[in-house]
């Protein structure tokens, strides 16, 4: 009989759980909180997502799955958005003490929510609140979309009749780890093409140490890196401090109340201006006379991101438009090269004239992990300052981010 009750409770739990997922209403967390050391008086806090608002919670109770008894929840008090407190009709059984204390039985909360006239069943297991616990159980968030990419791999092949096919590759790999108010990551970036007129030929690898200041809304990045061509023909050792400003987006959120009415925006604009410097030394140059020269540059620019949500309730944007503009002021003479048809570097410029670089990219999300994009690039980037002569690309990108399930 006891087994049958348990089985029925389990089936109800599974059925309720799946129904709540389908209908977009769930109970996120349930905590049983003892109000005195004797554990005779209890409070139960329940977090809903989304907030059903109090009057739409038609029925709410806790099932002791082990023996099938019901604990009613009374005296609802809203605490904050989506979180309600209740007084249970019975006490909970607890086993153990201190950090090892836990509920002695398997308690499951059940709720019946009225959502736009439809009654939805939902529920969640009950946790015992260990208010003074010294250690925590690790709970990490599962990663959902490509836009939080730590690894990015993009590529394309293009060709024409009687012309050699050109290959392009764009790779980014990094993984920030926290270090107090700092974060650090080793990184690798490659942006290169076999087309001599559209080859940034930039490869960077090193370590980035970032200081995060929420008070001033800034990041101070400090990269120590090797800045090179993909074949190491021209290589610099660079120390690259950069201060990035992170003002609030425009508008500040997609949903806003104006004159008592909720206004829903479709897009958000993020502007991230930055200033910095690049200081170091050339380690290897195609021009032997320039090898070992010192390098000093000032850098300033802006990253712009414009996101569009075409459908309401989508978690990630449908269209992402990012543009980067940066200008380098060279404080020492540097060389600028152009690759000839055989890929050999030919000296094109020499001096301290400023070098600009602009890149714009629009991507459209087809699935969680797959984008199509169109991009435009013009300018010169170190180490060889090869001119990227109005490079247009249309392609795809597959991205993912490290996560813990």
């Amino acid at each position: 009989m006891k087994l049958l009750i348990c089985l029925i409770c389990l089936l109800v739990t599974i059925a309720f759980g799946s129904l709540s997922t389908v209908n977009g209403q769930s109970v996120t967390l349930v905590q049983a909180i003892p109000l005195n050391p004797e554990k005779t008086d209890w409070s139960v806090q329940v977090a809903f997502s989304p907030d059903p608002t109090g009057n739409n919670i038609r029925r709410i109770f806790i099932v002791n799955v082990d023996d099938g008894t019901i604990i009613d929840l009374n005296n609802r008090v809203p605490l904050t958005t989506g979180v309600y407190s209740y007084t249970p009709s019975d006490r909970f059984a607890v086993a153990g003490t201190g950090d090892d204390a836990k509920l002695a039985k398997h308690y499951e909360l059940k709720a019946l929510i009225d959502k736009n006239g439809k009654l939805i069943s939902t529920g969640a297991p009950v946790d015992l609140l260990l208010e003074n616990a010294e250690t925590a159980t690790e709970v990490r968030q599962k990663v959902k979309t490509i836009d939080e990419a730590d690894i990015y791999i993009g590529g394309e092949i293009n060709g024409a009749h009687k012309r050699r096919a050109a290959f392009s590759a764009e790779i980014k790999a990094q993984k920030f780890k926290p270090l107090g108010s700092w974060a650090y990551t080793p990184f690798f970036k490659l942006n290169a093409s076999t087309d001599p007129d559209a080859d940034p030929d930039q490869m960077e690898m090193g370590l980035n140490l970032r200081y995060i200041s929420s008070r001033t809304r800034t990041y101070l990045d400090n990269e120590v890196k090797i800045e090179s061509e993909r074949d190491f023909e021209n290589t610099n050792l660079i120390e690259n401090p950069r201060l990035t400003f992170l003002p609030t987006s425009y508008p500040r959120a997609l949903r806003e109340r104006k004159n008592g009415k909720i206004v829903l925006h479709k897009s958000l604009l993020f502007l991230n201006p930055f200033i910095g410097g690049e200081f170091g030394k050339n380690v290897r140059s195609p021009l032997k006379a320039a090898e070992g020269d010192g390098i000093a540059r000032l850098v300033a620019g802006v990253d712009v991101r414009w996101v569009f949500f075409l459908k309401h309730n989508e978690k990630a944007p449908d269209i992402n438009w990012t543009t980067t503009y940066q200008r380098r002021w060279l404080l020492t003479d540097e060389l600028g090269f152009k690759a000839d048809e055989n890929g050999d570097l030919q000296l094109r410029t020499f001096g301290t004239s400023p070098r600009d670089y602009v890149r714009s990219k629009v991507s459209y999300r087809i699935t969680k992990f797959f984008d199509v994009f169109s991009s435009y690039e013009w300018g010169q980037v170190p180490p060889s300052f090869k001119l990227i002569d109005h490079r247009f690309r249309l392609g795809f990108a597959y991205k993912f981010r490290f996560g813990v399930e």
């Binding site: 967390l29 989304p50 605490l79 989506g82 709970v139 920030f176 929420s214 990041y219």
Partner: protein, 96 residues
Amino acid sequence: MLDLARAMRVTESCIRATANLFPPVQFPIAPDDTLLRLGIDDTRVDLLKDHITGDAQFGLPSLTPPRKINPTFLDIGETSTVTDVFVIISQNAVLA
């Protein structure tokens, strides 16, 4: 573990402080809103983490008694929802 009401208050306050969503009545926050929809993109997520771990006015240090969280547990991105952040804070915050 932190009680749900305080965990949600810390979550909401830190999101508001990061995205400057004040006054609260002008910018309603729902538990299923993603951070990006609230003006916090991936570039700004670290600002939110800094508010949660270090803000003496809104973050975990503002509680009585003060709490702390291992920053590596705050594995969140721009498509994380308010609820996602709240669950992590509630389940991982311990006494400072």
